[in-house]
Structures are given as structure tokens and as C-alpha cells.
């Protein structure tokens, strides 16, 4: 599957999309400039993220980034997640992100990092 098809697959069929039956934290996040709006549902145990799911709507970069984040984050420590940035997201979605789309790509990760800090 080429890189664009990979991105489109995650944007159209985002993984871990929907409200889970159980979660510890719910957070609404928004990119005010372009209308990307997500709700994150996060479960944490002993400083390890056990589950992340989400709902919402956004551009392909935003949705694909969030979809891949939910796959990468399972079982990771909060301290490790706090260090992630654009480089990780670009690796996950297999696409470089133009400067104007960085906020779209980082919406989910930044939202998760804000939860982890609390």
C-alpha cells in the first residue's frame, strides 16, 4: 500500500474510533483555525496508557494521525508519550506534514499529552 493510500485508509477508517464502554478521562480538543474537533477517551494504569479511543471529525491528516496514535500509544508510559512530537507523527502516517498542517497532525497527540500532564 503506497503512503497516500495508507493515509487515506486511516482517515476513512480510523482505528479505535467510537466511545469505549469504559475509560478514565474524556477530553474535547479542537483546532480553531480549521474546524478539526475530536473527543479523546483515555484509560491509564500505573502511569501506562492502556487504551485510547476517539470520536469527532477533521481533515485527513488529523484523523489519520489520531488513528495511528491510538495504535502506537497502547502500553506506553506517560513520560515517553510526553516526548513525542511531529517526527513521530510523520513516521506513523508515512507522510511529511507541511507547516500549514502541523496543527492538524499534532491535535490528537497534543491533546493526549495535556491529559497525561494532569
Amino acid at each position: 500500500m503506497d503512503n497516500l493510500a495508507f493515509l487515506l485508509d486511516h482517515a476513512r477508517n480510523p482505528r479505535n474510533f467510537g466511545v469505549p464502554s469504559d475509560f478514565d478521562v474524556r477530553e474535547d480538543i479542537k483546532n480553531a483555525l480549521c474546524g478539526d474537533e475530536l473527543t479523546l477517551y483515555v484509560s491509564v494504569s500505573d502511569d501506562v496508557v492502556t487504551e485510547v479511543a476517539f470520536t469527532g471529525a477533521g481533515c485527513a491528516v488529523c484523523l489519520a494521525s489520531m488513528s495511528r496514535l491510538t495504535q502506537e500509544v497502547r502500553g506506553r508510559k506517560l513520560a515517553e508519550i510526553a516526548q513525542w512530537g511531529l517526527a513521530e507523527v510523520e513516521r506513523w502516517i508515512r507522510t511529511p506534514v507541511s507547516p500549514m498542517r502541523v496543527k492538524c497532525a499534532l491535535l490528537g497527540l497534543n491533546g493526549l499529552q495535556n491529559i497525561c500532564l494532569k
Binding site: 497516500l4 487515506l8 483555525l33 480549521c34 474546524g35 471529525a57 477533521g58 481533515c59 485527513a60 491528516v61 507541511s98 500549514m100 498542517r101 492538524c104
Partner: protein, 373 residues
């Protein structure tokens, strides 16, 4: 590149650029601040530019004030305006440059904000305007052309409503000056603002026109050197003017007026290209349009591709050499009325041709196929 983003900014005209370079190379001075030849040259440049701008928009020379652009002009009026009346009237088509300063003023000073809505055909609800503008209205603010839908608003008619109750009319002409004739006299407005860079002139140079009645109620935004000069405008022009930019702005006014007087073909080509584009977009089932009836339409078309985020369409077009804008266009209320994620906006200019339209449509069809299959 196929450049369909003239509503964001326009390419600087070659004549304009040359006029600015010639001014800079001839010796720079600070107008009104010296007795030497360079200062006098700067005085003359600003004097002549003010006259050129006044001719361009059929305004009194004394009413022409130079600013950094439309946003500064709108903020100057909003921040400085004083009235004992109770409400101000905006429209659903207003840009953030008028929405934000006037709603902030209303919050701070207790004005009621009334908003004339848009109708389903993306024209102004004039019947609502007649109800909303009343004897307690201090000022009506409206764009001449919407930067989202391209709607040409009925400014002269709004002026009749406003003046009948003793209210002022202020017009954001940023999107009209490069594309339609703009006459303060014909529009019947008390104030008007526009930017050089939206009409093939430089960035950082704009105009605020305010008649004497409105000036009497508006305090200056900036205080500083040069504000006690002889011209009526001096009070609002504290600090050093962007003389080079003003020279370019005046040349842009002359260039556009000259083309309009000598040969209407430039405007006709833009209008024709716009109609081709609108007709072709409306033939594509995957595309939804947010445009008013043709008689109320300027050189802007907002659209969306069904099921595809506006930014994804615009990015894919950009990757293929087509420049448009996507999102809320600094006019979030109106853009969100169109679609939750805003729109894709194509905005044409004087150099766009039917070949550009054909190229745009070919590329858009590729992008639609990419995102919908």
C-alpha cells in the same frame, strides 16, 4: 501556478513595483518633517497619492487617510467611534476585521450588536435589515463584497436605510476595489476601507475614507508625531507614513482606473472566466457551491467536495500547482454557515484566463477522483 487566491492577496503589478523602486531610488525623506529636497519630495509623493486615491473612489481629498490596511482602518473607526445611540448593525457577511473590533467595542461600551442575516441564496436579507436598523442605530457596517461567497451587498440601499434614521454607514471595500468600480459617492457611505495588496498594490498600505460628519465622532487610534499637520487626515496619521507603499497604492489606483477607462476587456475577461468556472463547478455532482445569484456575484466562488474536508482538497490542489484557500477565510460565522469545515475558495483576478479555468477544473477532477474513490 494557477493562482486563484486573489481574495487573499494579489500579485503586485509591474507598473506599481517600478513606481515604488523609482521613488526609493530618487531619495527618501520623511514627509512633513524637513525643509530639504528629499522631505519635500516625500510631501509631494503623499500629496499626489492622496489625490489619486480620492479620484479612484470618488471621495473628497480631505476624507482620505492612509493606514496599514483594511484591518487597521476598521479598527481605527471602531475603537475611536463615540455615540450615545444604543445599537450597531453588522452583517452575516462581515470579515473578522469588522466583526472583532465592533463586537469588542459593544462589549466594552454596552452597545447591542445586531446582525443582518444571509438568505439561503447567499444574498443579504434586506427585509431583516429594514427591521434591524432603527432610530437607536449608531452605525451600520457591511462589506461591499463578501470574501467567502463573493456576494455583492446592496450597499447604496443599506445607506438609504441607515441615513433615514441618522445612522452612519461604513463599508469594508477590501474585496471590491480590485474588481468592481467603487465610488464613495455612489455607494453613499460615510466611511470606507481598503488595502493596496488586494488590488495589485503593495502590502502595508491601505486607505480609510471618512467624511467630515463621521470624523467628528472618531478619535485617532495612534498618537504621535505628525498628527498636527495641515491636512484633515493628519490627525489619524501619526507616525511615519509608509510613503513607498503609498506611492505604489496610488499607482495601483491609477492603473486599475486607466484599464477600466481605456478598455473594459480586463474586467470582462475576469467576469467571463468567473462565469465559466461557476457553470463548470455546478455541473459536477461531487461539488457543492455556496454562491449567490449571478447578478449579485463577484470574482469569488466558495465550494466544497462532498465528503472531503476543505483542507484536504486545498492541499491536494496546492500539491498540483493550483492556489486556492480553504477554511473559514477570517469570516468564521459565514464560512461555518456554508460548511462545518469551511469552504474551498477560488478567487480570480485580472490576469486569469479561460485556460486557467480549464487547468483548474482538470486538476480539481483529479483531486476529486483521488479523494472519492
Amino acid at each position: 501556478m494557477i493562482y486563484f487566491d486573489h481574495a487573499a492577496t494579489t500579485p503586485i503589478d509591474e507598473e506599481v513595483l517600478l513606481s515604488m523602486m523609482e521613488y526609493e531610488r530618487g531619495g527618501r525623506g520623511n514627509p512633513g518633517r524637513g525643509l530639504h529636497a528629499f522631505a519635500q519630495r516625500a510631501n509631494d509623493a503623499v500629496f499626489l497619492a492622496r489625490q489619486a486615491v480620492a479620484r479612484f473612489v470618488s471621495a473628497e481629498v480631505d476624507d482620505v487617510i492612509f493606514t496599514k490596511g483594511t484591518t487597521e482602518s476598521c479598527n481605527l473607526v471602531a475603537r475611536g467611534f463615540a455615540s450615545t445611540r444604543k445599537n450597531i448593525v453588522l452583517t452575516a457577511f462581515d470579515h473578522h476585521a469588522t466583526l472583532f473590533p465592533w463586537t469588542k467595542k459593544a462589549q466594552e461600551e454596552g452597545f447591542e450588536v445586531r446582525v443582518i442575516p444571509a438568505k439561503e441564496d447567499w444574498t443579504l436579507d434586506f427585509e431583516a435589515a429594514a427591521r434591524l436598523i432603527d432610530v437607536d442605530t449608531a452605525i451600520v457596517i457591511a462589506p461591499h463584497v463578501s470574501n467567502v461567497t463573493g456576494t455583492i451587498l446592496p450597499i447604496a440601499e443599506l445607506g438609504v436605510l441607515a441615513h433615514a434614521v441618522g445612522a452612519f454607514l461604513f463599508v469594508d471595500a477590501a474585496q471590491s476595489v480590485g474588481h468592481l468600480p467603487v465610488s464613495v459617492r455612489d455607494l453613499g457611505c460615510d466611511g470606507l476601507a481598503f488595502s493596496g495588496h488586494k488590488m495589485y498594490g503593495p502590502m502595508g498600505a491601505g486607505v480609510l475614507v471618512m467624511n467630515e460628519k463621521l470624523r467628528a465622532l472618531v478619535d485617532p487610534l495612534l498618537l504621535g508625531g505628525g498628527m498636527f499637520g495641515d491636512e484633515q487626515s493628519a490627525k489619524y496619521e501619526a507616525g511615519t507614513l509608509n510613503v513607498t507603499g503609498i506611492v505604489g497604492l496610488a499607482k495601483a489606483c491609477e492603473m486599475i482606473e486607466g484599464r477600466r477607462v481605456r478598455n473594459e476587456r480586463g474586467m470582462a475577461v475576469e467576469t467571463h472566466s468567473m462565469r465559466l468556472l461557476n457553470d463548470a463547478l455546478s455541473d459536477r455532482p461531487a461539488v457543492e457551491l455556496f454562491v449567490p445569484p449571478v447578478e449579485a456575484r463577484s470574482s469569488i466562488v466558495s465550494f466544497g467536495v462532498r465528503g472531503v474536508h476543505a483542507h484536504d482538497v486545498a492541499q491536494s490542489l496546492a500539491d498540483r500547482g493550483v492556489a486556492v484557500r480553504a477554511g473559514y477565510h477570517c469570516a468564521e460565522p459565514l464560512a461555518k454557515l456554508c460548511r462545518a469545515d469551511g469552504t474551498v475558495r477560488a478567487s480570480l483576478g485580472k490576469s486569469n484566463t479561460k485556460e486557467d479555468v480549464a487547468g483548474f477544473l482538470r486538476t480539481l477532477d483529479e483531486v476529486i477522483a483521488l479523494w472519492t474513490t
